[in-house]
């Protein structure tokens, strides 16, 4: 089978185009997504798609609450919208529609309504200051009725977006600004290579599953998005010290795949969870509690979280770098749990 090496932005674009070709009910709605001479959204994901689908790339006013509501209505009426915000931070403007309508409509209606709606949001601290930087995952993982995933490589990005489009429930997909691709217009300091060899032809990646990215026996390191990449780098260093780390891409943030996570923890007995974002109230708190319930008796030591300080994201690089968990901090946490 032939493959092509693509970044996350390109693989998402392919997935969207293929799904729109496959199913006429699929359409995109968002800001700056269908402007000739424009950018294809804030991060080039929808670049050029308006040429292929002139009637199904809907460029909105800057009105997040409004167009997420529009997407909700269209989904109820049988369409399958893909709505995106330019930065995850703007999900907070749309939160009323997402949490009060989109997530609850099926339940409130006693199952009368399906909400096949995909939402995409870039997150992560990237030198832009406090309001274009937050990791919004935590605010949506606890919303019943919503599936939440995070894509850390181009293969998953394509496969999970396709799975999300085909799902009859609302799915929120988190993407990371430093993983879209590290070249050309998308160059960003700190960008990490998240390209994959994408097979020709159709495939999906199931939404509810975590993925073991590196096998190991001493400690289970759990991460997603950029932190997954840092965790893999940390595992490399730990290996040089004789510590065998298993690295899991949590990937499905809600629901959590406790089967995969639990199987690993039962073997290693040690857990480090890595999260970009304040420690208090993070997704890692939910993971830690779930691990305790699922297989706490297998733990040899307390679960360790490596997360950001409980502060807004600072602008200046020295502080932003201190805010964002890094490889040395992950290594250090793994060494600590190895004391047990």
């Amino acid at each position: 089978m032939t493959t092509r090496n693509l970044g996350i932005a390109e693989s998402l674009r392919e997935a969207i185009a293929e799904e729109m070709t496959r199913d006429e009910r699929v359409f995109c709605i968002g800001e700056d997504i269908a402007v000739p001479g424009g950018w294809g959204g804030a991060f080039t994901v929808t670049l050029g798609l308006e040429k292929k689908f002139p009637d199904r790339m809907i460029n909105t006013p800057i009105a997040e609450l409004g167009f997420f509501g529009v997407a909700c209505g269209a989904a109820m009426a049988g369409m399958r919208p893909i709505a995106d915000v330019q930065y995850g931070d703007f999900l907070l403007l749309a939160a009323d529609q997402i949490i009060n309508n989109i997530a609850k409509m099926r339940y409130m209606s006693g199952g009368q309504i399906s909400m096949p709606l995909v939402m995409r949001a870039p997150v992560g601290a990237t030198g832009r200051g406090s309001q274009h930087a937050q990791n919004l995952e935590r605010y949506f993982t606890g919303v019943p009725g919503l599936k939440v995933v995070a894509v850390s490589n181009a293969y998953d990005a394509k496969g999970m977006l396709k799975a999300a489009v085909r799902d009859d429930n609302p799915v929120m997909i988190f993407e990371h600004k430093l993983l879209y691709g590290s070249k050309g217009a998308r160059f960003e300091p700190g960008a990490v290579d998240a390209t994959s060899d994408i097979p020709d032809g159709d495939y999906t990646v199931p939404l509810g599953k975590a993925a073991v990215r590196r096998e190991g026996s001493d400690v289970t390191i759990l991460g997603w998005l950029l932190m997954l990449h840092y965790s893999l780098q940390a595992a490399e260093r730990l290996a040089a010290e004789g510590i065998s780390a298993e690295v899991i891409d949590v990937r499905s943030l809600s629901p959590l795949d406790l089967e995969t996570i639990g199987a690993s923890v039962r073997r290693t007995g040690r857990v480090v969870i890595v999260e970009e974002g304040p420690k208090t109230g993070g997704v890692s708190a939910e993971i830690a509690a779930s691990v305790m319930e699922e297989c706490g008796e297998y733990l040899r030591c307390p679960v360790r979280r490596v997360a950001s300080a409980d502060v807004p994201v600072p602008f200046t690089p020295v502080l932003e770098n201190a805010y964002r968990p890094d490889v040395p901090r992950i290594v250090e946490a793994a060494r600590e749990v190895m004391q047990f």
Binding site: G37, G38, D89, G129, A309, T316
Partner: protein
């Protein structure tokens, strides 16, 4: 607005605003903003300056015209595109540059960055980078000023794009029903990011829509004529101080640089861009001053060189300023 393709249009001379010192001051302030923005763009593209930037080349007359009509204790809210507002409101080149370089001597100690510049002592709330987010906040400032029985005024700067947000309509309506001393300044530069106003509004005459909808005085002004902006702002400020606010000003202008970062502006038609380039507010005001005999071309050039020199000196200083230490990460979260 249909800008003439030819020479820069004259400006609207007001009877009482031609004190030479005052006029030259307006000019110099606009040049200071332009030189700042051009210099910062270079530093950013060269990778010398961190972060991201949204700049206001071409829109200097809106910031300077409005802020010149304000007192230091009047407040403005700004956006992600706030460098010009900051310089016009009296923040120093140095505290801004220090902020952009992430130094602890910056106006927000390096914690804010380009999108959040501000200084409460100068009457500028740190930039609010959520489109429309500053509009109800300005109404809130004005509510406080009114409850405190002061004659202070709040001004909210925002773009044409913000008019689509719920926060705009909610904020303007509350200001209207409570007669708040707030001036809503919509800098209509024809684009919200890459999207032309005609794609997001049926009636692109924003002032007409607002006046008709909210029952407040709303005016559309040539936003590239610094004196016209100043006069409109002065009248609006007086109206607000007299307890008859709010006022809405739509300033027609154009962004002569990218939306952010490395935006090549391919969505702006060449023709349109050239027309507006010919109506550059600094060019226009400079030509008008020369025509009035208040300064000659060499004088204009001297202003630019002086401002440029000061900017370069400030860059040298900024690059040597102390950076925050990791201890600063957890300070300033709570009072």
């Amino acid at each position: 607005m249909t800008a003439s393709h030819s020479a820069p249009r004259d400006i609207a001379w007001a009877a009482n605003s031609d004190a030479p010192g005052f006029l030259l001051g307006l000019y110099e302030r606009m040049v200071m903003i332009r030189e700042f923005e051009d210099g910062v763009k270079f530093l950013f593209l060269e990778g010398i300056m961190p972060g991201t930037i949204h700049q206001c080349q071409g829109q200097e007359a809106t910031a300077v015209g409005v802020c010149t009509a304000l007192r230091t204790d009047d407040f403005i809210t700004s956006t992600f595109r706030g460098h010009g507002h900051a310089l016009a409101k009296g923040l120093s080149v140095q505290e801004l540059l220090d902020e952009l370089f992430g130094a602890s001597t910056g106006c927000c100690k390096g914690k804010g960055g380009s999108m959040h510049v501000g200084n409460m002592a100068q009457g500028m709330v740190p930039g609010i980078a959520i489109v429309g987010g500053g509009i109800p906040v300005a109404a809130g400032l004005a509510l406080a000023f009114k409850m405190q029985r002061t004659d202070r005024v709040a001004v909210s700067f925002f773009g044409d794009g913000a008019v689509a947000e719920g926060a705009f309509h909610e904020g303007v309506n509350m200001a209207a029903i409570w007669n708040l001393p707030v001036i809503f300044v919509c800098e209509n530069n024809l684009y919200g990011a890459s999207t032309h106003v005609s794609r997001v509004m049926r009636d692109t005459h924003v002032a007409r829509r607002v006046g008709g909808s909210y029952g407040i005085r709303a005016e559309q002004i040539d936003g590239n004529d610094v004196l016209a902006v100043y006069e409109a702002a002065k009248t609006a400020v007086a109206q607000c101080r007299a307890g008859n606010g709010p006022v809405f000003l739509e300033l027609l202008t154009y962004r002569l640089t990218g939306h952010s970062r490395r935006d090549p502006c391919h969505y702006q038609p060449k023709e349109e861009r050239e027309e507006w380039t010919a109506q550059d507010p600094i060019l226009r005001f400079g030509a008008a001053l020369v025509k009035r005999g208040l300064i000659d071309d060499a004088g204009l050039e001297a202003v630019k060189s002086r401002v440029r020199r000061d900017f370069e000196a400030a860059v040298q200083v900024a690059q040597r300023q102390p950076l925050p230490t990791t201890n600063d990460l957890t300070t300033d979260v709570f009072a």
